[in-house]
Symmetry: C2
Subunit: 431 residues, 2 copies
């Protein structure tokens, strides 16, 4: 008789049904690899009557989470219901009941990974969450094991598929933001409430997870300078294109001597920057290590089967650990202390678009705002609108975030309306 490990799944949405599908389809192969048949025993759902797009023959459905977290038959819990409160409660309960947990829940992990990893360890349980960042791309393992010997100094990437899809379509097809967002929603890349994606919070959560693992820290979400793409206009993309720049929502974490800076922001990349050609729902993350130089991980950032395959790979890792009786050790590290880099020390070029009344001397006033902060300008482009209004786009040379933000305030006083502004990521040295 085959040895069986029972799994409980919390949530039967897209990823949950993908997990059940893969566990069914790969049953034999997983048995060959681990020596166990992995069987889904119970799935917690909100609506017991809803039609499902995956076979649930022989699986118990429940709407009571405790039926899973308290079931002594169940060894591994897959949490794919999302949200923070109930997910956290269930995971904590799972650990107290000596069950291992796989989750794709970035909202939860971004804020509570250290606490939950500690609790898992105390209970000799595993907590894995590869699927929480970049879908099916095995980047967390790459950071934890593959680059274990290295000193990670920078992590930069495109880690939100929804906004990358929107920006790709706006840039390539000339769509408006609203049109691209709607299409993303139609295709299932964006949820009905897309604010976590478009406002950059989803990317910020993933950046926190990456930085915590890469830098061995316990970073707060508040430490991340976050701006989303909600106010990006196709005019910005059009002008940027003429300047040889492509817009991406870029997450970036840098560390030097325990001083860190973290940001998520729509960013203009030179066309030859390798991230500029990562399109649609794809994700790509560059990791810069002192010894390795730079390595890059690329793949689908979301989607039912890619995300579910990462979840099931985590389940397999746990089963292998169970075979060896070594659960509870994997990701926990003592968090290092850190200092946040000051805005005076964070440098970039900037792109800024300003709406002006077309008055005599107005351009001089504008340029004086920059000169006042010792910011030198690289380009000034006028986009006439009508007799009375003009838009200008200014590209600065490198300046600090502090000086730039002071300049923004000065500009507001000079009667211009600031329509948009973006960092320009300077060229990479290595690729």
């Amino acid at each position: 008789m085959k040895k069986v490990i029972h799994v409980g799944v919390l949530g039967l949405g897209t990823v949950g049904s993908g997990v059940i599908h893969i566990l069914q389809e790969r049953r034999e192969k997983i048995f060959l690899d681990t020596g166990y048949e992995i069987r889904v025993k119970t799935v917690a759902v909100r609506d017991l009557e809803k039609e499902r797009d995956v076979s649930i023959d022989g699986i118990v459905l429940t709407n009571n989470l405790d039926d899973i977290t308290d079931d002594p038959d169940i060894d591994i819990i897959v949490e794919v219901m999302g949200g923070i409160k109930h997910a956290k409660q269930s995971i904590i309960k799972a650990f107290y009941n000596k069950k291992h947990v796989v989750t794709a829940n970035k909202d939860l992990l971004a804020s509570y990974s250290t606490e939950l990893l500690q609790l898992a360890h105390e209970n000799a349980c595993d907590l894995y969450y590869e699927a929480s960042v970049a879908g099916g791309v095995p980047i967390l393992r790459g950071l934890i094991d593959g680059l274990a010997s290295d000193h990670i100094r920078k992590i930069i990437g495109i880690i939100n598929g929804t906004t990358n899809y929107i920006l790709t379509k706006m840039s390539q097809n000339g769509w408006s933001y609203d049109q691209a967002l709607k299409e993303a929603q139609n295709l299932g890349f964006a949820e009905a409430d897309s604010s976590a994606d478009v406002d950059g919070l989803d990317a910020a959560r993933k950046l926190a997870i990456l930085a915590n693992l890469g830098f061995s820290m316990n970073i707060s979400l508040d430490d991340i300078h976050v701006r989303g793409i909600r106010h990006v206009d196709k005019t910005d993309l059009k002008v940027a294109k003429k300047l040889g720049l492509t817009m991406k929502l870029v997450g970036k974490a840098e560390m030097s001597n325990s001083v860190i800076s973290l940001s998520v922001a729509p960013t203009l990349l030179p066309n030859h920057h390798p991230l500029s050609s990562v399109n649609n729902e794809y994700n790509a993350v560059y990791v810069h290590g002192q010894a390795v130089g730079e390595v890059m991980f690329y793949g689908p950032g979301a989607g039912k089967l890619p995300t579910a395959s990462a979840v099931v790979s985590d389940v397999i890792s746990i089963v292998k650990n169970m075979n060896l009786d070594t659960n509870g050790y994997s990701l926990l590290k003592e968090p290092q202390s850190y200092i946040l880099k000051q805005d005076q020390e964070i440098f970039s070029k900037y792109f800024i678009r300003i709406l002006l009344k077309d008055e005599r001397g107005i351009l001089k006033k504008i340029t004086e705002c920059f000169m006042n902060q010792s910011i030198s300008l690289k380009e000034i482009i006028e986009l006439p609108l009508d007799d009375e209004l003009v838009e200008i786009v200014i590209v600065t040379h490198r300046t600090s975030r502090y000086q730039f933000e002071r300049t923004l305030r000065l500009l507001e006083d000079v009667a211009g309306t600031i329509k948009s502004y973006y960092c320009i990521e300077v060229e990479k040295e290595n690729a």
Copy 2:
């Protein structure tokens, strides 16, 4: 007092001295992560008197490998001396003496990984070899753990830095093959005897390692269809460029229902193919899984510190396993049986350059050779040389390798000299 794990290093060339450098520099960090100080006790070298570019204070040098493989103090052996015979003997001896092994030795692993993994397992020892493929890029871990749940169907990539450097320089700078090879040797990317690199054998070995892990097989090097870049001419690159094609030495392994095909060959890629922009000594490998779709790993394919960082990450994994007393389980899988795909079933477009006497009717004779094998032609380009000679480049539509090779034989009979021929990789669907 700190707990210490002693390491013995076989070989103190580029990678060996990189390993010692990283172990010294990251000593504190590794202690924090593993609870052990990892100390290099003994290094086996050929020449005891040679000047070294790394501090060997407190390290014993020996020219007797047994001083390391027989030392009861040593727990982990790092084999970076290369070659097959002595390396294999030492590794086998290490396992009998219950020592774990990290190696970067692709020559050895390509042929003996199953045997050595089995022996490691029987002795409860680890055998890790992340550094053997794509230098510092953690692709083997990605295949083994990160994509453990998935069904890998295709692995395609650029896995030899030397040839990629040569082809990049020939294509971008118009250099001759000899000039590019010489520069690669000056920069240390190519060895004095570069034949394993330029003839494709090095890439074939890495492809065997990747395919064995990705497909769970025990593939023989003889199963790989190997062609190198020794006969690539800059004329080929020039004509290809006009056709929108870039040449790369591509390794490709495909599997469908236990039928596999494996090849390493100079290949023409459409300019928008993502591998076409991987330049110089960089490596990139795409892995196609049934669930995940495609993921890509990219980074430096060689180099002292990238390769050494992969070796040290493997050492850290072993120390973590030692902490948990779980050595000897990691990479071993029961090899699956396979059938080699027949040449009749392997399809590609082809680029072929033929030197002809400029005689009346010769072009008709040439095209008849293709028609004879039912190969239809996409383009014919004439490159006049002088009054008597002409070169023509023919691009075919998709045809089987079998038909193409029969055509080659027919062409030889029609008095043309075949100067070169290359597969054209058809466009990728997913990226």
